[in-house]
């Protein structure tokens, strides 16, 4: 359990630091952390905010980054089917990477729905507190490190690191290559448009690669 918690602290600190380096003042950074509570989406949109990108691009980017929660929704729907809507809503709103992964790995097996809800709510609260604390460290620690665009890039690496472990399936190499090439070719398009275009071209390449190479590699489970 220690490693995921350390991960929260590291990502939270990096996000706090990156928000300040992107040009937010402290109140705005704290506000962003409390209102959004979405590390990868925050890190992803910071360069766009700093560059004054179109609002549609920024919102589309936040949507695409968060799409992975939609992919996990079938499991949550099944596990919490008979809870009142409001309690399911609370479970969902505070579901982040770490609580979802922790829940899927060790929160489900051999538990009743009530115990699962308890596990999920407890994890949600603990991670929320830890995340907000780590973000504050980053926000108020930003004053003691020199201002540099290098911090923004470390924020970008933190975004990429969340995506990379998802890529060990047949067809991923081609999918990543196509995504990267299309993104650089579409660099003059509005940010969100280029992002959507390159993501979906990459997904198409991944689909083709998946059926070409699926037999040789591990089966796909999603």
């Amino acid at each position: 359990m220690a490693a995921p918690l350390l991960g929260i602290v590291i990502w939270g600190t990096v996000t706090g630091l990156a928000m300040i380096q992107a040009g937010l003042d402290r109140a705005q950074a704290v506000g962003m952390s409390l209102i959004m509570y979405a590390g990868s989406a925050q890190l992803a949109v910071l360069p766009l905010l700093a560059a004054g990108a179109a609002p549609v691009s920024i919102l589309l980017t936040a949507f695409l980054v968060n799409l992975r929660f939609v992919m996990a929704s079938a499991v949550l729907a099944r596990d919490f089917r008979s809870l009142p809507r409001i309690r399911r809503f609370v479970i969902g709103v505070f579901t982040v990477e770490a609580t979802l992964a922790g829940y899927l790995m060790r929160g489900r097996d051999g538990r009743t729905q009530a115990q699962r809800e308890q596990f999920k709510l407890g994890a949600n609260l603990a991670i929320w507190l830890l995340w907000q604390g780590a973000t504050l460290i980053g926000i108020f620690g930003a004053g003691v490190v020199p201002t540099s665009s290098d911090w923004m890039w470390i924020g970008q690496l933190a975004v990429l690191a969340i995506g990379a472990p998802l890529l060990r399936v047949a067809g991923s190499t081609g999918a990543v290559t196509v995504t990267a090439v299309v993104s650089i070719l579409s660099i003059d398009l509005p940010a969100g448009v280029g992002l959507a275009l390159s993501t979906f071209c990459g997904a198409g390449a991944g689909l083709i690669g998946h059926y070409l190479f699926a037999n040789r590699n591990q089966p796909h489970h999603d």
Partner: protein
């Protein structure tokens, strides 16, 4: 420069989008699960969106070298890419992350490579 008038509305907008995706299991049809070709393609999307966000920064120096007015030269291009540090660190994050299936190891490896290239 950050647009101060749009910042707060944008934050609330992104928050609404985030909440919508995290509560998808409330409003999607019951037993919804993407299957077949669409399911496979869709399963790539979240990771690729993160790759696409990082790509323009990672490949910026390579692009400049390719579009250089006096033609592309391998030696200087490689030196520039190494000095910039972004492309090598992004590749390390991708490879370590996919290989170890561990985001933290990927980030630490990437930051070490980036730091080594930038500050040493």
């Amino acid at each position: 420069m950050i647009d101060q008038t749009l910042l707060w509305p944008l934050m609330f907008g992104m928050s609404a989008i985030t909440i919508m995706t995290r509560t998808a299991f409330l409003w999607l049809p019951e037993h919804w699960q993407p299957r077949g070709h669409a399911g496979v393609a869709l399963s790539f999307v979240p990771a690729l969106a993160l790759v696409a966000i990082v790509s323009p920064g990672a490949l910026g120096t390579l692009r400049e070298s390719l579009l250089a007015p006096d033609g592309f030269q391998v030696g200087p291009a490689l030196a520039q890419i190494a000095q910039d540090g972004r492309l090598p660190s992004a590749l390390v994050v991708l490879v370590v992350g996919a290989w170890r299936r561990n985001a933290m190891q990927a980030l630490v490896a990437g930051v070490l490579v980036f730091g080594a290239l930038r500050w040493i």
